[in-house]
């Protein structure tokens, strides 16, 4: 085994373009296999981050996605400048690099012909941080779901608030939760899917108050950072701390659903949540 691993590593070093290294267990997996496995490590079941486009492809019926509010973009409400320069420049560079306007993409689409509204966060955009544009898009999509009485599904992936927007970022927590509360009141279903990682201000707002809270296996989910907690309580945290499995055990998740089963899961779930002629005979 050691020999095989070594040899595989050597091969990987020789032809790096062919190999992907699992961020969790460091196994070397053929890029083709990695992609075919939906970026889930065949060795350790690590669910690697997806781009919003990959998520849409996995979740929605082919060609059914229509983006809404694509033009909503970042703002720089406090003209923020840190050690590395201005937020405005950083945001502009990010937008250009990954061709997104904000850390979330919203729109409508179908899951097995059932219309839904989705908001899909993308960690590549400043760590999926909750900026004013992010919050605005999540709220606007909720309002769209409310008007059209369609189930709303948010896929979270976020390091938390976007501190470059200061207090305005904090306010997005209240803003998005207010939008969800309106759905609750109107009986419009809202499902939260927490993917790796969902922490800080996003965990403490829309991501944990789904009618159902779903998570991908192994996803890191928590309010405070591991380091901050360890410094505060002066002790080491258990290895499984803040994993999806840990949250399930502590009562905060309804279910852990593997990536490959996610669409089927929603196809099975949605009929319980929506009124249709076929429903309840």
């Amino acid at each position: 085994m050691a020999w095989f691993k070594k040899s595989k590593n050597n091969i990987a070093e020789e032809k790096p373009e062919l190999w992907n290294i699992c961020p969790s267990c460091k196994a070397h997996i053929f890029k083709e296999e990695w992609a075919a496995g939906l970026k889930v490590c065949p060795k350790c079941n690590y669910h690697d981050r997806l781009t919003y486009q990959e998520r849409i492809d996995l979740l929605l019926d082919d060609g059914s996605f229509k983006e809404i509010n694509a033009e909503v973009s970042t703002n720089d409400p406090i003209n923020f400048i840190d050690a590395k320069g201005s937020y405005a420049k950083k945001a502009a560079a990010t937008k250009k690099k990954i061709n997104m306007n904000e850390a979330v993409v919203t729109g409508c689409g179908n899951i097995n012909d059932i219309p839904v509204v989705v908001a899909i966060m993308d960690f590549r955009f400043m760590g999926g941080s909750l900026g004013s544009g992010t919050g605005e898009k999540i709220l606007l999509a909720a309002e769209y779901a409310l008007r059209n009485k369609r189930p709303y599904i948010i896929f979270s992936a976020s390091g938390g608030a976007r501190m470059h927007e200061g207090i305005i970022s904090l306010m997005q927590m209240a803003k998005t939760c207010a939008a969800i509360a309106r759905l609750n009141k109107a009986g419009v279903p809202y499902f939260s899917v927490l993917t790796h990682p969902t922490t800080g201000g996003v965990s403490a707002s829309f991501a944990t108050i789904g009618d159902l809270n779903i998570a991908e296996p192994g996803a890191l989910i928590g309010f405070a950072g591991r380091r901050v907690i360890e410094e505060t309580i002066k002790q080491k945290l258990p290895a499984d701390f803040q994993t999806a499995e840990y949250l399930l055990e502590h009562g905060f998740l309804d279910k852990i659903v593997a990536r490959k089963d996610m669409k089927d899961f929603f196809a099975q779930l949605l009929p319980y949540a929506i009124k249709s002629p076929k429903r309840r005979r």
Binding site: S132, A161, K175, A181
Partner: protein, 318 residues
């Protein structure tokens, strides 16, 4: 904990204290000198407090002699009945609450408790609440809704407690639940940021119809120290971060995150507790009286629009 930028002021104050002690018993001795020193102290404190940097304001907001919730309860409330428990796990002392009467208005008062003595500090975790605290607050707010009492929430916390058990029992969920429920609570909610408005721990009881802030209070998405250590990779750059984050009341008013600033006497609330609390009382009463005239449905819609508008720049499709 003396504030270093207050040094000239503290010198004079110490001198006044000395003279008062020396001259005690005698009415005339040092009288004119003390009067003169007092005049000087006032002028210096005005000067210092007019030009506080954001980082200095953070230190004032954290000053141990600033009025805390228990001071407000003692001084501007009557008939306070503290209510305990989340009906689920425990009774957190980082957030307390109960029925209170403020200027003849019956309210449900909730707020962070930091504690004065070391024992108190430890008992209430320096105002860093656990999930039980947020859940107790929600229970009390729902009771207020049923009894048609306005909610008054006093914010003063470094943040929600980042502990192992707090995570286990759902710190994130507890805060999120409050954000959602407060946005739909069918009774007026008046928020007063009296000291530190620390991130999620603050907004967890901070959604309301009127958001009011004491002049030298601060409200921020992250502590300046935390921000500095992440973005400057150096916690000692907190003064820079405090400035960049725009944590002071004047900035927050411009951003429309708050509706009103309650001015503090020169020298800060920690020098003029009674005066400050009286101003807080009057402002609370004013807002309650205004909000009580708004129909519940309208109240909730306006509250929604208020938060929906935060971070909305330019025209958006809705």
């Amino acid at each position: 904990m003396d504030l270093d930028f207050e040094a000239p002021l503290l010198d004079i104050e110490n001198r006044i204290a000395e003279l008062e002690e020396l001259g005690s018993g005698s009415e005339i001795k040092f009288r004119s000198e003390i009067t003169e020193l007092r005049r000087k102290a006032k002028s210096i404190s005005k000067k210092i407090y007019k030009n506080l940097t954001p980082w200095q304001t953070v230190q004032v907001a954290r000053h141990k002699d600033r009025p805390l919730i228990n001071d407000y309860i003692k001084n501007i409330c009557s008939n306070f009945i503290e209510l305990h428990g989340d009906r689920c796990y425990g009774d957190d002392q980082g957030i307390i609450g109960g029925f209170a009467t403020i200027g003849n208005r019956q309210v449900m008062l909730i707020g962070h408790q930091k504690g004065k003595s070391v024992e108190e500090n430890l008992e209430c975790n320096f105002g860093m609440a656990n999930p039980e605290g947020y859940r107790k607050a929600l229970r009390l707010m729902r009771l207020a809704e049923r009894y048609k009492l306005p909610v008054v929430s006093l914010i003063d916390t470094p943040g929600a407690y980042p502990g192992l058990e707090a995570e286990e029992r759902g710190q994130a969920e507890a805060i999120a639940r409050n954000l959602a429920e407060m946005s739909q609570l069918e009774t007026p909610i008046v928020i007063v940021i009296t000291g530190e408005g620390g991130s999620g721990g603050a907004i967890g009881i901070g959604v309301g119809d009127s958001i009011i802030m004491l002049e030298n209070a601060v409200y921020s998405v992250i502590s300046p120290e935390g921000c500095a250590s992440i973005l400057w990779r150096d916690g000692s750059k907190a003064p820079l971060a405090a400035e960049a984050l725009k944590v002071t009341s004047d900035e927050l008013l411009k951003l429309k995150v708050i509706d009103e600033i309650i001015p503090e006497p020169a020298g800060g609330a920690h020098r003029a507790s009674d005066e400050t609390m009286m101003a807080v009382k009057q402002t609370i009463v004013k807002h309650i009286d205004r909000l009580k005239r708004v129909a519940p449905t309208k109240l909730i819609n306006k509250r929604y629009e208020k938060f929906a508008a935060l971070g909305r720049f330019g025209k958006k499709k809705r």
